[in-house]
Each structure stands twice: as structure tokens, then as C-alpha cells.
Symmetry: C2
Subunit: 379 residues, 2 copies
Amino acid sequence: MTRSIGIVETQYVTFAEQEPFQLESGATLSPVTLAYETYGTLNADRSNAILILHAFSGSAHAAGRHHPDDPKPGWWDECIGPGKAFDTDRFFVICSNVLGGCYGSTGPSSIDPSTGKPYGLHFPVVTIGDMVNAQVKLLDHLGIDVLLCAAGGSMGGMQVLEWAAHHPERVRSAIPIATTARHSPMLIAFSEVGRQAIYADPNWHQGDYYHRAQKPDAGLAVARMVGHITYLSEQSMQQKFGRRLQGRERYGYEFQTEFAVESYLKYNGSKFTRRFDANSYLYITKAMDYFDLVAQHGSLAAAFAHSSHIKFLVLSFTSDWLYPSHHSKELVRALTAAGCDVTYLDIQSDWGHDAFLLEVDTMTHLIGSFLDQLAKEVL
Amino acid sequence: MTRSIGIVETQYVTFAEQEPFQLESGATLSPVTLAYETYGTLNADRSNAILILHAFSGSAHAAGRHHPDDPKPGWWDECIGPGKAFDTDRFFVICSNVLGGCYGSTGPSSIDPSTGKPYGLHFPVVTIGDMVNAQVKLLDHLGIDVLLCAAGGSMGGMQVLEWAAHHPERVRSAIPIATTARHSPMLIAFSEVGRQAIYADPNWHQGDYYHRAQKPDAGLAVARMVGHITYLSEQSMQQKFGRRLQGRERYGYEFQTEFAVESYLKYNGSKFTRRFDANSYLYITKAMDYFDLVAQHGSLAAAFAHSSHIKFLVLSFTSDWLYPSHHSKELVRALTAAGCDVTYLDIQSDWGHDAFLLEVDTMTHLIGSFLDQLAKEVL
């Protein structure tokens, strides 16, 4: 399990330079660039491609390292590589940064060709559907007609469901993890609080801050801290931090960082501002809030009316209160009603929503077996 | 159940004018004022007094109206009044605003006599223990030696436990509702995010804003929005808002308030800034974070070693994920180990933490019976 894919490089594809890219809102974008990485080798009949979809703050850099001295590998390195859940000895794995993101794909921090300046809030609001439609262009570019599998957790899982519902002819199997077919009002509420924290930062300037010395870091950090809590669970916070004090033995009776959990949140909130764009935070949360396959199709089963050939592995985690298991169970009922072949596991875990990044052994076993079976049938 | 206590008036008691009030931190305060209200009549042997302890953002105004045309009654009016859970035909009910608050009791917005200006961050950090010690002074002032009952939800419940653990000789019975004997790391995390939102507001000025035109309203509103989510549950948000849009039929594809749940949060966040002081938000959350009867006594049972004569009614709510039922169950085990007479109910409710304000019928029945039995024994 310690083998890595090694050194990898982010690649870029640009499309919609002539004919604009049509968005669900009715707006258009031109051109559109997607950053992506690939691991493993595409086989001769181009049938072994797996698309990995990243979560809210992820990037195309899912596995390997960019340099030999890179301190950290890609975000799902434990699951992607030789002999891992997504076995790069057998499969050609692709991951692209979402439209609206800030890791090389076109987003609010990209240059608007009509002004020569960053889009900011002039960037059109995008949806999970738009993100996936852009990924369709990437597959076209790579010459891949049908994915062996689309897989991802959290917002990545929404994209998996979008692929299965709206591009079923291009997907053989799907692994939606710790996700939902429609954002609940609680999820919308947490999104909105994060956005309000950014709006409240005077350095946000209605999204027009790219040329300024001060960025809306304070607001973005607060937004991230809220998010971070929702990714954990009461149990995992108890295990990780308890009521431990940080670097002191007694209460200081002052407004300093005292508890380890405070220190963790502040550190991660601040670190996030060095790697993420506040406007992308707004756009991507908005895309998730809009996601609702039920309303789009009248019922969830109807959303998958043309997906009965797709094999599903649906995974949820018992302590995930952000995307609770009942969302996955509702999905499983709909997929079954639509005639899909569904394997579902509600994995016992204390790690909350973050479990999809942490329960590596269990997922390796489950995903490995699922893909192994699939490979026997298809490859 | 529609009878009200009628018109009530907030009263004030000031103490520690000569000898300073000692705080757990070692600091002192002088003088200290508590705002309080009373409902019903104290009996001749002063044995029918019930102290109601308010939650985080509450005030002494628990029942009745201040004026005939007052739009809203006190915060627990449905539970306090003639024939209600806390029956003012039989009991003398007292409620005081906590030390550190902003509803008439001494807090960071009070004038520091040493400077003639509001304390701001010069106000000493107070604890739940300090709040209760100040209430002891109020009881002394009212000439009440022993409370028939101390009752309250959330932070009010912490004060109930503090009374029972540290002033057992002055309490006959205790009703801690939807609370905990020690703030969990998740609760600390939510507190800290709220504080960080306030710190991030440039109008906060390190707490020195009382003389300024601009208050840290934006930060306080974000803090309150986070809090509001935690008081609800996924189920109650689904029932109250679902994915309903507010005043529109389609997505606007813009960064406006679109979902009903967003509108609710924004409205309540903004409304809160007109009634609450940002510094009090900091101080009171800090007091809750420090609360830990386990660490203070080595074990929770040890905390109640001298409380075996106190009758307890412990209530929790199944959908309360902020103060989950297992906190109450841990408390019940400790109280039982300490030899207390404990009645415990985990009330089936979809309303999350807010249930302690909403499940009026159930609570009226439970609390009414508990106090009725107690009155038969004591009065």
C-alpha cells in the first residue's frame, strides 16, 4: 500500500474557443480551460478509464507528487496508485479540477478575455451539471467514449450522480461516496454562512480583490473553519482533541487560542487562505446548493431512468452528519427502482464526513473488489 | 395554557460595592449588578422559589410582557405562568440575566468605574461558576435560603448543574435540560468560529467599539447564523424550509438570497445584532467552553458527591446534535452513582436543540408532574 504513482504533471485542455460553452443558466463561457492529471495507461480499446471527481476544495492533483521533494502527495494518493483501490497498474485514472475552481481550471480568478482582468463576480454562476459537461469535453479530448467508472466523494459524488443521470451512455459504473442527490437545507445553510463570512470581509470588495494587496482572507478563514467542523464528527473531535489545552496547562482567562481544537481550526482556516480563492468558495458552494436531481426529474428514480445498465457502488459513513446515510439510502432505493445493479454499504466509522478520505483500508477492499469484478466483465 | 403572568418588570440588585466579587480566574469585579424578574408569590416560609437559568442569548425576561402592547412575551412564557409547567399560582419563579450578559447585568458593555468607559475586553473572563455565585448573592438579597428547584436548558442547564454540584445545600431539586456537564470539543469549535467571525470584523476594534458609529454587526451576524444552524436539526430544517425558494420560482444564478433557509438565517443574524452585544458573545461562549465538572472534580460522580439529597429531572431530545443525548446519559449515570434520585427522559423530537423551547406540551407534563410531586413532599 505504500507504493506511489511517482512524479506526475498537471495538464491542461482548452476548448470553446470558437463556439462558446453553454451553461445551464443560459450564460456562456469562452474559452474554457480544464486542468487535469492522468495516472496509469489507457489500454488499446480505451475501455479502462476511471474518472475521479474531487470534493469542494480539491484539485486535479489526486495522486503522486509534482516534484521529488514535494512534501505532500495528491489528495487521494492513498486510494490511487499501483495496487491501490484505483489500481493504476490496471486502470487509466483521470482527475480534473472543476469549472469554477482555482487550481488551473477556468473560474472567477481567471482572466475574462473581454476585459483582460480577472472575472470576479462577472464569472457566470456554474452548476454541477456545467462542471460535468466540461469534463465531457475533456473525455472527448482524450478520445474516451465510455468510462469504466466515475467515482468521488462529497461534491465528487454529486458529479458522479450527474454523470450517471445525464450522460449514462458514457458510464459503465459509478461510485458515489458520502454524498447526496440533492443538497439539504442544512447543507445550504452551512454554505450560506460561509458565503456571508466572505461577504462580510471588507477586503472582499464584491469579488474585485485580485489586484489588491489585501485579500478577503479573514472571511475565507472563518468560512473554512465552519466547513472544517462539518467534516468531522463529535466522536472524531473527541478522539483527536478532547478538551486538551494547546501549549498550556491551565485556562488563561483571556481571548487567546487555548484549546487544541481551536488551534487546529485556526491553523487550517489560515492555511486554506493560502491555497484557495474566496470567489471560488462562493461559486462552488452555490453549485452544490443548486444540485437537486429530484426537482430536475420529478423523482430520483426518474433521474436514473436511462441508467439501468450502470453498476453502482454506493458508500456512506455512519458518523457523517453532513451527508447522513439516509441520503445514500434514498439514492439506493431510487437506483434500485430504476433497475440499476446497486451495492450499498453504510460503513461504520467515527470520522464523520472526512471518512471518505480516511477509511482507506475499508474503501480499498470495497472499491478494489467492485472494480475487479467489473474488469472481469468488461476488459 | 394561554394564560399569561401579565405585565412584569425587570428589577436590579447591586452588590460587591465595598468588598469586590471574587471570580474563579482570581480577578475581581466591583460593583456587580444583576437584572432579574420574579413571577408569582414567595410563600411565608420561603420554600417555593424556583430559579430559572437562561440559555446563551437569553435575558431575565423569561415570562410575561413589559407593556400591554409588547409584541412578544418573555423567552419561556409558554412554560412559566399560571397553570403552566412552572406554575406561578404555586411557585415563586425567579430569572436573572447572567453575569457577562448584555441585558442589564454587569458585562463587557457596562461602565468600568475605574475608567468611566465601557469595559470592553478589560472585563474579566467569567465562568459558569461565577454566574452562579452571582445568583447566590441574588438569592441572599431575596432572603431565599433553599431553592425548591433550579431549572434551565442549554447553558441554563450548565448553571443548574453548577448549582447542584457547588451549592447543593441551597437546592432541593434540579432540572437540567438539553445540556452537558462539560463542553465537548465540537461545542468549543462552534464557539470559536463565532468568536473568530467577530474578531475578523474590522469594526470590532479589539472590543473597543461602544463609542463608535459602526459596531461589529457583520461579524456578530455571521456568528449568530452559525449558532442558529446548530440549534436546528436536519429534520426540522427540512420541515421548516426544505429547498423552497424565497419570493422566486427559479434559480437566479446570482449571489442573492434565494433559498428560504438563507433568508431565515440572514434575517435572524441581522435581528440578533440589534439585541445582543458582540463582546458578550465572546465572554459567554468562553464561559461555556470552560465549563467542565469532570476535570474540576476528577469524575462527574465526584462533582455530585454532596448532592445526593437533590432530586433530578434530566431531559434531552433525540434530534439535538449540539448537546446530544449521550451527554445527558453520562450525567444520569454519574448522578445515580452519586446516590441522587434521578428521572431521565430522552424526548423524541425533530426540533434539534431548540426543542427545549418548543416541546412545550411534553415538558409541561413532565416538569409539572415532577414539581407537583416535589411540592407534595416539601410545601
